[in-house]
């Protein structure tokens, strides 16, 4: 056959360049000294070191490996037997089964994920009754009455989409296999299972191996199906990364991925070298003439059949199995055991060393998860996808949750640190009697702009709708904020329930959109974009502005004269939380002055703790040996007169929420 010339090879090369360009980029930035994935700050290995301390990444990696390994193992064994079974059926039965087998492969991941999610939710709704009945009927096993999405559902989902891959890889091998082989083995004295072990298995092994490999790869790479079936008390690495892509992907993830990538690369290289050798040997053998094998191979074979060789082989196999088991057990133990408290917060919203400290102090394991918005959190709770104890929603969501009876009243006797909360942040409209909440942070929303790209001082929201900055403005990516700001600009209340006012606000935004003012709609992607100087304007939270400022000094923040939104995020406990007392301990711990100071320093959001708020400049000076810029402090903790200009969101009635949503989709089209 004609081989490809230079042209052909370079086309293949270009294709690979395209495939690997972003990967090189990723690997490159895993050695970045800075924490941006766009700005190079010099070489460092700090992210590899930090990897071992980043709980979120390590835990989600452990979950990913656990689920992928288990799902692959189950799917491979079940799939292999199933393929044998299917293969022995008559066409009448086989064909419909194969059609069903194709469904998970043909279906879009998102449809598979959604369907499974709805199935689990429907099942969980019905389960309570069944469990109660089972428990009343026997007391041998205590069935939990409340089930949620989690590791179990994730595993089921992964097995379901892995099975078809295994079957599709094993079936052709079975088809190629001479059907008389099994008969021959039985004829020679094998029982069916002996025949299976001695004949079928070696024959279809390549199919099983490639099926398992594909299944494992798919499992590790999967995001969409996991996203819909894991709830969010369990997170795979992909989900963690997705959570981060919205804000800033910590280079720790680059480091983890680089390590995984290298590990697989090494396995592939070793494997390739080995199979190349085998192929050569096979070619030699096939060429009839010299029947003598490589003498070393022969000696090895002979040694393998000696008792000692056999023992070695068995020991190796046993060791591999044991290693696998230990991994599984270890990972399981890692994810469960010890008293636990399940927290759900936002990404990059805590100084993670606080978690370690709390664990050391109390011996309670913290299962710390994140979601990306109040709305997602609400959906997860509605879908029964979450089994959190403590959540940290924002003001308007809290009132909605209280209204729907989803929160538990707190036991303030267990939270002495509540006394440290500034009276300004108690008894706020979302929780007038303050029975459900302990504030976590508070802050404002304002315009972030790049002074290198904008010549004027900005004082009004009007800049966001100005043709002058066409293509330079990032619209905030949720309907409430985007229309709320427009309402404020138009002089209405952000909490208006007048559909006409909301429509006017929509028109303002839609008109600017048509004129091409907006570069895009962003939520946490704003970090990368603004820091890289890729847009001139964005609307975002003060605390996040301060994080960006660390990477780009040209950025400025202003709360426009028309006023803005101010918010409080507060810790609440879900109804029937399984670990109520642990949750109280956690809340109390976080409400302490020390924790507030550290969090404030880490995330740049203002603390509701009077002492912490007052002491922060002092603490900062002690910690870093330099004075805190008062301007920064003012942005972080807006003075009362600024807050007076601002409005806090309240929960809107359902019909208005629907209106917001419809208008938002209309905007997107």
């Amino acid at each position: 056959m004609k081989k490809n010339g230079f042209g052909g090879r370079s086309l293949i090369g270009l294709c690979f360049l395209f495939l690997y360009l972003p990967i090189f980029f990723l690997i490159f930035f895993s050695f970045n000294a800075g924490d941006s994935s766009a700005v190079w700050r010099g070489f460092s290995l700090r992210w590899y070191a930090e990897l071992f301390h980043n709980r979120l990444v390590i835990e989600s990696l452990a979950t990913t490996l656990l689920v992928s390994l288990l799902a692959t193992a189950i799917a491979t064994v079940a799939g292999t037997f199933a393929a044998i079974g299917i293969y022995s059926l008559t066409k009448k039965w086989r064909d419909p089964i194969l059609v069903v087998n194709d469904i998970p492969m043909m279906n879009a991941d998102i449809v598979t994920g959604v369907a499974l999610c709805l199935f689990f939710v429907a099942f969980f709704r019905g389960w309570g009754g069944i469990a109660r009945w089972l428990n009343s009927w026997q007391d041998l096993i205590d069935f939990p009455e409340r089930l949620t999405l989690g590791l179990g559902t994730l595993l089921i989902a992964h097995v379901s989409f892995n099975l078809p891959y295994v079957i599709l890889n094993v079936a052709p091998r079975l088809r190629q296999m001479d059907s008389n082989l099994v008969d021959a083995a039985q004829d020679l004295g094998c029982t069916w299972f002996q025949a299976f072990y001695k004949v079928i298995l070696p024959e279809i092994k390549p199919g099983i191996v490639s099926g398992a490999l594909i299944a494992f790869t798919m499992s590790v790479d999967d995001f969409v199906i996991s996203y819909f079936t894991a709830g969010s008390s369990t997170q795979t690495l992909a989900m963690t990364i997705y959570g981060m892509t919205k804000k800033r992907v910590t280079p720790v993830v680059n480091a983890v991925s680089t390590l995984m990538f290298l590990a697989v690369l090494i396995v592939l290289i070793v494997n390739n070298v080995r199979s190349a050798k085998q192929e050569k040997l096979a070619a030699k053998r096939a060429s009839m003439k010299p029947i003598r094998e490589n003498p070393r191979a022969e000696r090895f074979r002979e040694w393998m059949s000696t008792p000692r060789g056999k023992l070695t082989r068995r020991v190796t196999a046993a060791a591999l199995c044991a290693a696998f088991l230990v991994t599984v057990v270890f990972l399981t133990a890692f994810t469960t055991s010890r008293p636990v408290v399940n927290i759900c917060s936002w990404g990059e919203y805590i100084d993670e060393s606080l978690i370690d400290e709390f664990e050391a102090e109390t011996g309670i394991r913290v299962n710390y998860q994140t979601t990306d918005s109040n709305e997602t959190l609400y959906s997860l709770l509605e879908l029964g996808g979450a089994d959190y104890d403590v959540i940290v929603p924002s003001d308007y969501m809290i009132s909605q949750l209280i209204e729907e009876g989803m929160l538990e009243e707190l036991d303030y006797s267990q939270i002495p640190n509540f006394q440290l909360i500034d009276p300004r942040f108690r008894n706020l409209p979302y929780d007038p009697e303050n029975k459900y909440t302990v504030p976590y942070t508070w802050g404002t929303v304002g315009i972030i702009y790049n002074s290198a790209m904008v010549d004027e001082e900005i004082h009004s929201w009007s800049a966001l709708y100005d043709d002058k900055y066409a293509g330079q403005v990032l619209l905030i990516g949720n309907s409430r904020d985007a229309f709320g700001i427009a309402l404020k600009y138009l002089g209405y209340s952000m909490n208006t329930t007048n559909p006409d006012e909301i429509r006017q606000a929509y028109e303002l935004v839609a008109d600017a959109n048509r004129r091409g003012v907006f570069q895009g709609k962003v939520m946490d992607e704003v970090f990368q974009t603004m820091e890289g100087g890729n847009a001139a304007f964005a609307t975002y939270y003060a605390g996040d502005y301060l994080s960006m400022l660390e990477n780009n000094e040209d950025l400025k923040f202003v709360i426009p004269d028309e006023g803005s939104n101010w918010f409080v995020d507060a810790m609440c406990v879900l109804k029937d939380a399984p670990n109520f007392d642990n949750a109280m301990k956690w809340i109390n711990f976080i409400a302490s002055t020390k924790a507030n100071l550290r969090n404030m320093d880490y995330i740049w959001y203002a603390s509701p703790n009077t002492e912490a708020l007052d002491k922060y400049p002092e603490w900062y000076e002690e910690e870093y040996g330099e004075e805190l810029d008062p301007e920064i402090y003012e942005i972080m903790a807006a003075p009362q007169e600024v807050l007076d200009r601002c409005e806090m969101y309240v929960c809107l009635p359902r019909s208005i929420r629907t209106l917001y949503n419809d208008l938002w989709i209309k905007l997107g089209i």
């Binding site: 004829d187 001695k198 029947i291």
Partner: protein, 393 residues
Amino acid sequence: MSKELIRLKDVTQVFDGETVLKDVNIYFNDSEFLTLLGPSGCGKTTMLRIIGGFQTPTSGDVFFDGVRINDVPPYRRQVNTVFQKYALFPHLNVYDNVAFGLRIPKEAPDGSREKIKLSKEEIDRRVREMLEVVSLKGFEHRSIASLSGGQQQRVAIARALVNRPKVLLLDEPLGALDMRLRKDMQQELKRIQQRLGITFINVTHDQEEALAMSDTVVVINEGVIQQIGTPEDIYNEPKNAFVADFIGESNIVDGIMRADRVVEIFNRRFTCLDSGFEKDEPVDVVIRPEDVDIVSEAEGQLRGVVTSVTFKGVHYDTIVDFYGFKWLIQTTDYCPVDSHIGIKIDPDGFHVMKKSKYSGMFGDYSSYSEEYDEINDPTILDEEEAEGAEDED
């Protein structure tokens, strides 16, 4: 010498509503070489699989040494099989293939719990011995893929025989070999069978092979045994038109038995050696092509016109039209096409058979070439293969 070893009693096998074997009664003797012969789909392989234990008959019983073995799985039967296309284990080399059966611990015949496990030395000795029997010494470490068809065949035989079965089943053992190799292997198989003195049950659709190797031939068609006998019996005294046609070449014509030893065909009476029929009973008359002598038109008992001549080496296949009925005559005399000839048949050249459901279906050489080819065509699918092929899509 011949003791009965296996008996099938009223065995019927139905697949998906289709009767493949119908009320089969047959026994197999010790140390005989028996061939099940029949066209594709006649049920011969099914019969073999029932004996091997791969198939449980729909009804009827299978006895081995007088014991009913219907429910005994294949791995407990003292029967081994050489499979179609050999079914050698591709992941094992020659040695390991042959040793395969020996390495499986067997249940002791007395039914005790302890399983019999052969020692390594014993296995090695028996494998090497068997490889020698099949002339494959020195091939121990060769991979299966590197062997020729004939060598694979030998491995398959060795693999089965090394277990010292009482019966060896061979499923179209020579089907995949070319002509010359097939002839050699026929001799080889016969030699091995005689050397070991065990029963071989061979399945084939090749009548020549059946006649050459067997002590006993069983002709099967449509799931029914047509005739059992020695090769000579089968050839010389076929029971019906099917057997006559399937075994060798035959001209089969309608005749009437006018009296003992007098048969009438084409309105002429001929002397024959058959008797015992009713007077004026309609019969089938078989005349083998080699039993016909071509003589001059004047001398002939029957007169016809040559329509085609094919040179076959030893003889010519000459097709002659007698009164619209075409006969095949094998003769060393060359008669050109369109020549008018006469023929003469000795009394022992006639074989008279009772009418059967096959009457009138065979023995006419009007569409000569096709039919002749079909019988010799080894590529025609066997029933099992046909089933397998259907499986594949």
